[in-house]
């Protein structure tokens, strides 16, 4: 797949989307450009965007990364469009921002069942809700773990870190 095909699929599915091309030069003797697309997607358009990528060719989700940006949570869906095409894979990153007051995103497991582990991880670590996810059980943290460690304003994580710092200071 080419970056253009991916861009067309995305803009057709979610009107108004402006994917940004960030190519990287790779190689030493005969360098080639490996394309990467980054796009901001409203959460209402997420499922349509992923479905359009899936319709365009084999699709793989590498990971969803995320961060706490004050009043909002930013999620980055790192997808590989055209997965398994020699030299023809395009890394697509979809950026979805949701308010902390309503951190809900539609699940993409219906399109990509392989996204379940990473969506469940985001429930634990960032306290995001995914509507339509097959299971919400913890993957990494113990059941009943208090708080969400990647939230910067999380009092439970702060308590854990403070205990650790105190303890390390005592033992050093």
């Amino acid at each position: 797949m080419t970056a253009d095909q991916v861009r067309r699929a995305l803009t057709a599915a979610v009107p108004g989307l402006q994917p940004e091309l960030r190519p990287r030069k790779v190689g030493v003797r005969a360098p080639v450009e490996v394309p990467e697309l980054w796009a901001e997607v409203p959460r209402e358009g997420l499922v349509a965007a992923v479905a359009a990528l899936k319709a365009a060719g084999p699709l793989h989700i590498s990971i969803i990364s995320g961060r706490d940006v004050g009043e909002e949570i930013e999620l980055l869906y790192h997808l590989a469009a055209g997965y398994g095409t020699p030299g023809g894979e395009v890394m697509v990153t979809l950026r979805v921002t949701v308010p902390k007051s309503d951190p809900t995103v539609p699940s993409i497991c219906g399109i990509l069942p392989g996204a379940e582990t990473t969506e469940r991880e985001k429930i634990e670590f960032l306290g995001v809700n995914f509507t339509g996810i097959p299971s919400t059980a913890h993957v990494f943290l113990p059941d009943g773990f208090p708080g969400h460690p990647w939230r910067k304003d999380d009092p439970e994580t702060a308590k854990l870190v403070n205990r650790l710092v105190e303890w390390e200071g005592k033992d050093a």
């Binding site: 790779v26 793989h60 582990t117 059980a137 113990p142 059941d143 303890w167």
Partner: protein, 420 residues
């Protein structure tokens, strides 16, 4: 899945002789047949990403190397590529070749390690001893080149930390010749042995459709016939120019079935592929600098000013590893660091692989994806049926008490004066 009253639950793990690392697999079995499995991870979760976001980038690089002892080149390569992308750092050509050589050496030792584990899980310990004996050669070369058998501390932002000097090249070439002469014997021992075939053919099947929808990666996906390989599909470093081709069982003249046998085929053939790549790199590698930042303080100062985000990927021995990093100017630590290890993508593949298999095949099917669980904090204890979490202080106190008890019994003189 027909549920009858004859279905029982068997928990395997978190600690179990059939497993090399802590994970809990709860099987529903009917007689000797597995009807379903529930996978629970997290028993080795150390919160490494959280720690990385509290440290400067050089410290984070060291931390990334300790995510996994086997992939101790793969994670540093992915994080350096991500940071170089975010901070706009160029890597000298020679360093790119050196990184490839180290990754391929790692692939050889990792695949041989897997082959030994697989043989052991089949009850074929002679083969385990043979593969692990021959694995020593590549570990010796890694020690010769980097100073360590694992945790090589080779990649750094902007290049690598050690060159391969001319005197070392013949040693690497001798290692390549050694494995070339041995590969046929290994293929023979694994793939033409009737008992190995009986235990692995049509066992733990993952179809191509399942591998695709569950986003499997690495040899797990390739054994199902999907020619996916990050080195081939999304070139990075000099892999695009080396012409890497994803290996599937078709390269061995077999129609892929996605069973344990096919996974062995793919991994063993990949050892040969890595030998070719190392040889080509040694010939093609140009002379020159090995890093664009020879002085660490200059590198740290550059990184502190950097602002941006980047992705770095690499085909680790077990499949795609990807790191995302976000840097902000004026801040030494990464604002976001997300790591995806290959097993993360492959865990879900276990569910179809275990379906309708025999209980006796659990160890080899579990091992077939070459799981690497050590990407995960906390100790989880189940006592009297109730779960509790033991914190580090408590664990340390318990272990010191035990050491005291043991040493008192062993020697009349205390072996240590206690830790202050």
């Amino acid at each position: 899945m027909p549920e009858t009253q004859n279905v029982y639950e068997i928990p395997i793990g978190p600690i179990h002789p059939a497993l090399k690392e802590p994970i809990r697999l709860t099987f529903r079995v009917e007689g000797e047949r597995i009807r379903g499995v529930d996978v629970r991870t997290g028993f080795a979760h150390r919160g490494i990403e959280f720690m990385g976001m509290k440290r400067n980038l050089i410290q984070t690089l060291y931390l990334s190397e300790r995510i996994c002892g086997i992939c101790s080149i793969s994670h540093p390569i992915a994080i350096t590529l991500a940071v170089e992308r975010a901070a706009g750092i160029e890597v000298p050509p020679r360093a790119q070749y050196l990184r490839v050589i180290y990754s391929e050496l790692e692939r050889i030792h990792s695949h041989l390690l897997w082959a030994g584990v697989a043989a052991h899980e089949l009850g074929f310990d002679t083969l385990l001893h043979l593969t692990w004996k021959v694995r020593e050669q590549v570990l010796d070369i890694l020690e010769e080149l980097s100073g360590n058998r694992i945790d090589y501390a080779i990649p750094i932002y902007g290049g690598v930390r050690r060159d391969i000097v001319p005197a070392q090249v013949p040693k690497v070439e001798a290692m390549v010749r050694y494995y070339r002469g041995l590969l046929d014997e290994l293929l023979d021992a694994f793939l033409r042995d009737p008992s190995v075939e009986a235990r692995t053919r049509n066992v733990g099947i993952l179809t191509a459709e399942e591998a695709d929808s569950l986003c499997a990666v690495g040899p797990t996906a390739r054994a199902s016939g999907l020619p996916k390989d990050v080195r081939q599909d999304r070139p990075y470093l000099v892999y695009g120019e080396l012409g890497v081709k994803a290996i599937t069982p078709r390269d061995y003249g077999l129609e892929p079935r996605g069973d344990v046998y096919d996974k062995a085929v793919v991994r063993l053939l990949e050892v040969g592929q890595s030998l070719d790549l190392i040889e080509t790199c040694l010939v093609e590698m140009p002379d020159g600098e090995i890093t664009s930042f020879p002085k660490i303080p200059a590198l740290l100062a550059h990184l502190k000013k950097a602002e941006g985000e980047g992705l770095g990927w690499h085909e680790a021995p077990r499949g795609e590893v990807i790191h995302y990093i976000r840097l902000e100017a004026g801040v030494e630590e990464p604002v976001v660091w997300k790591v995806k290890a290959p097993t993360y993508s492959n865990v879900m593949s276990w569910v179809p692989m275990f379906r309708d298999q025999e209980v006796a095949d659990i160890p080899i099917i579990a091992a077939s994806i070459d799981p690497c669980i050590c990407c995960m904090d906390r100790v989880h204890v189940v006592r009297d049926g109730s779960e509790a979490t033991v914190q580090m202080e408590e664990l340390l106190r318990l272990s010191r008490e035990k050491t005291d008890r043991v040493t008192r019994r062993l020697s009349p003189v205390p072996r240590h004066g206690g830790w202050a």
